[in-house]
């Protein structure tokens, strides 16, 4: 069984909370903003999954949804199974137990996520205190010291305030805090953005070694495909609230099949490669407004290789190798999300057997 199993997850931000009566859950109304639109994936114990995409593609919303940290205006449907239990229907008491001890989050921007007027030792000790009220102060101090040393900081730094630490050291504190209750899963949202290359390398090495030593699963979110490809086993690329490509990290980064995945991968220069020297490949345009998505494939207005029917068909993820023959009716709109072994899947008509033309007929029928 997978440690984390997300099935057809949607997150919709409601324009006003008054419209949020229970019977309306899941139905779209005026002014609703669908931030996540039917995302499914699984994460096995000890596995590292990278989630990439531009700002506004829904990746951070998804991270927050996994621990139900979203505001009340957000409405969730689908399933998030963590170790077999559905997080969406879980009681608050049970949820509190799962947060920190089952799954914890490393947020981006450690300066804003740490309390500026509390010593870091107290902040790292807080989740331990909450989860094990019987543990004494001396024991907590000892565990905090161990955690600090584990992330490469001297134990005596427990008495420091966040402003006395550098950006890299603060990010280490965030990681120590995430490890405090021995979680099975760590969600890291842009853990190295805004850090220097050398500090980024230190933090990534640290995360990788901790994950490997303790068999923790990792969901890492970043806009930097090259960092994710370097750290993770598998990669998923999000666009406009959906996963549009998913597969082994090296394949997705090196040979993406979705035009959006290709554009993201091409945005990172490979030093020494003459192809990226003075020849820049940007992706024109902006991601669509989630409240006003284009018809058909939501990427088609920015797509360089769009086909005539791309504004009619909204393809679901499809195995790129074509090793599975889909049954009739198993077509689109989030229903084709079956596991396909180690293969890569992409949500693009060019991956479909007949460029997705049969879907056009179905749509118009």
């Amino acid at each position: 069984m997978s440690l984390l199993e997300v099935k057809d997850l949607t997150v919709t931000y409601r324009a006003s909370t008054s419209a949020a009566s229970p019977e309306k859950r899941g139905s779209a109304g005026a002014g609703d903003v669908p931030a996540v639109r039917g995302v499914s994936f699984t994460l096995d114990a000890g596995q590292k999954l990278g989630l990439a995409g531009e700002s506004g593609c829904g990746k951070s919303t998804m991270a927050l949804a996994l621990l139900r940290l979203l505001p009340k205006t957000a409405h969730l449907t689908g399933e998030i199974r963590f170790d077999g239990e559905d997080l969406l229907t879980m009681s608050w008491g049970r949820l509190r137990a799962v947060r920190w001890a089952g799954a914890s989050i490393v947020f981006q921007g450690a300066m804003h996520s740490l309390n500026a007027v509390q010593r870091i030792g107290a902040q790292i000790g807080e989740p331990i205190r909450l989860h094990s009220p019987k543990v004494g102060d001396a024991e907590i101090r000892r565990r905090v010291g161990e955690l600090l040393e584990h992330v490469g900081l001297p134990a005596r730094r427990a008495d420091a305030y966040p402003h006395e630490l550098s950006g890299g050291q603060r990010q280490r504190v965030m990681i120590a805090m995430a490890l405090a209750c021995d979680p099975q899963l760590i969600v890291a949202d842009e853990p190295t953005t805004a850090l220097d290359v050398m500090i980024q390398a230190q933090i990534l090495t640290l995360i990788e070694s901790l994950v490997a030593e303790q068999g923790i699963s990792l969901l890492m979110i970043s806009h930097d495909l090259s960092v994710l490809a370097d750290t993770c086993d598998r990669l998923a690329i999000m666009y406009a609230g959906r996963i549009v490509e998913e597969g082994p990290a090296a394949t997705v980064f090196g040979a993406a099949r979705h035009p959006y995945g290709q554009a993201l991968a091409a945005a990172f220069p490979r030093i020494g490669d003459p192809a990226s020297r003075r020849r820049l490949q940007g992706l024109a345009g902006d991601p669509p407004d989630p409240a006003d998505l284009p018809a058909g494939c939501s990427f088609h207005p920015r797509c360089a290789v769009r086909l005539g029917h791309c504004d009619l068909v909204d393809p679901s993820l499809w195995p790129t190798a074509g090793r599975e023959v889909p049954d009739d009716g198993e077509s689109h709109k989030g229903k084709g999300n079956r596991p396909a072994g180690d293969g890569t899947r992409a949500a693009c008509v060019r991956v479909l057997p007949d460029d997705g033309l049969s879907l056009v007929e179905k749509e118009s029928a």
Binding site: E54, S55, S166, G167, G168, A194, D196, V197, M198, I199, Q200, A201, Q202, T205, H223, D224, L225, S226, V227, A229, D230, T231, A263, L264, A266, A267, F268, P269, R270, I271, G272, S276, R277, R278, L280, Q281, G282, L283, A284, D286
Partner: protein, 345 residues
């Protein structure tokens, strides 16, 4: 008043030192500790280094925003005068492009006002509308009239950065200093903004000093790169050479930790030392993997690494490296032997 010297670099630093009083009164922080750097007309130079290495202080000094403690800044061969009148004239020619466009644009000013501000400060009121439109379209915001009355919050991150660039272009400068121009932008937008900088150079002959911690950016657009560590430039030369065959162990380490870099990453431990306590000898020796591995001792230079300052690198376009080991092990006809040996002690 002296006339500009023909063929002189458009902007130069000559043995520039910038010191600050340290916060706790224990000595002085040598943020820039002896730098020579030339930017030729139409040239794109990348100044790379980690936070705290002094690259932003050096850029501010080149813009006349910071006065060097010693050494001088030259504009077309003429030393910069620090009177407000001279600085105002200087800044028509040398413009700053800041990082984080959301922070450098006034949220209550329209795009038109943001771009026209420079013209108004310099009293260029005639043809204002035309020149604003021209700057916007050169920055890739077309048709410009459509953007005149927009506010920053109505624009995407990439468009905001284009507005900031248009604000710099409106005075028709010959050189721009861009501090992390793409650091806060999405990967997809990054390529567009960098392509714009390249196009401006090709079309207008605009030179640029791009300050960044991103070596990939240097590979993308720069002609030359200068790698800075703890207040000094430690390696400099053409991008193709420095980023594919670096000789300074610091440059080598920076390149090795990039995702996708070939070979094993050399992750340096700790962070650069405090600029109030710059190590004696080579300033990098306390973190140097070549010294730690014993390779420097095998080459017989370890004593010099600990005791002798490799010196300040000269300006100009030559390949130079401030490393005793690299200067010793390179072949006699190697690039580091010539100009580096000529560097001042």
């Amino acid at each position: 008043m002296s006339e500009p010297i023909p063929n002189a670099p458009i902007l130069s630093a000559e043995d520039v030192h910038v010191e600050f009083e340290a916060r706790r009164g224990d000595g002085r922080a040598r943020a820039v500790d002896g730098v020579n750097l030339d930017i030729a007309p139409g040239e794109i130079v990348a100044l790379v280094g980690e936070s705290g290495c002094g690259k932003t202080t050096l850029a501010r000094t080149l813009l006349g925003l910071e006065k060097p403690t010693s050494g001088r800044v030259l504009h077309r061969g003429i030393p910069l005068a620090y009177t407000s009148k001279a600085l105002k004239r200087f800044r028509r020619d040398v413009q700053l492009v800041l990082q984080d466009p959301s922070g450098s644009l006034n949220p209550r000013h329209t795009v038109y006002d943001a771009v026209a501000e420079g013209l108004r400060i310099h009293g260029d009121v005639p043809d204002e509308r035309e020149r604003v439109a021209d700057a916007l379209s050169r920055a890739g915001l077309r048709p410009p009239e459509r953007f005149f009355l927009r506010f920053p919050h109505e624009l995407s991150g990439g468009q905001r950065q284009r507005v900031v660039i248009a604000g710099a272009l409106v005075l028709e400068p010959n050189v721009i200093v861009a501090d992390e121009p793409v650091a806060s932008l999405d990967a997809s937008v990054r390529g567009e903004i960098l392509a714009l900088l390249l196009r401006l150079r090709d079309e207008l002959g605009l030179a640029a000093l791009v300050v960044t911690h991103d070596l990939g950016l240097a590979w993308n657009i720069a002609d030359r790169v200068a790698v800075m560590y703890l207040g000094r430039i430690v390696e400099t030369g053409p991008v193709e050479k420095i980023l594919t065959a670096p000789e300074h162990p610091y440059t080598q380490a920076l390149l090795s930790v990039l995702p996708e870099a070939p070979g094993a990453p050399v992750v340096l431990q700790g962070e650069p030392p405090d600029p109030t306590r710059i190590p004696a000898g080579c300033r990098f020796h306390v973190r140097c993997p070549v010294l730690a591995s014993g390779a420097a001792a095998a080459a017989g230079v370890d004593g010099r690494c600990r005791g002798d300052d490799p010196g300040v690198l000269a300006g100009g376009t030559a390949i130079q490296v401030a490393c005793h080991y690299a200067r010793t092990v390179s072949s006699p006809d190697g690039p580091s032997d010539g100009p580096a040996a000529a560097a001042r002690p």
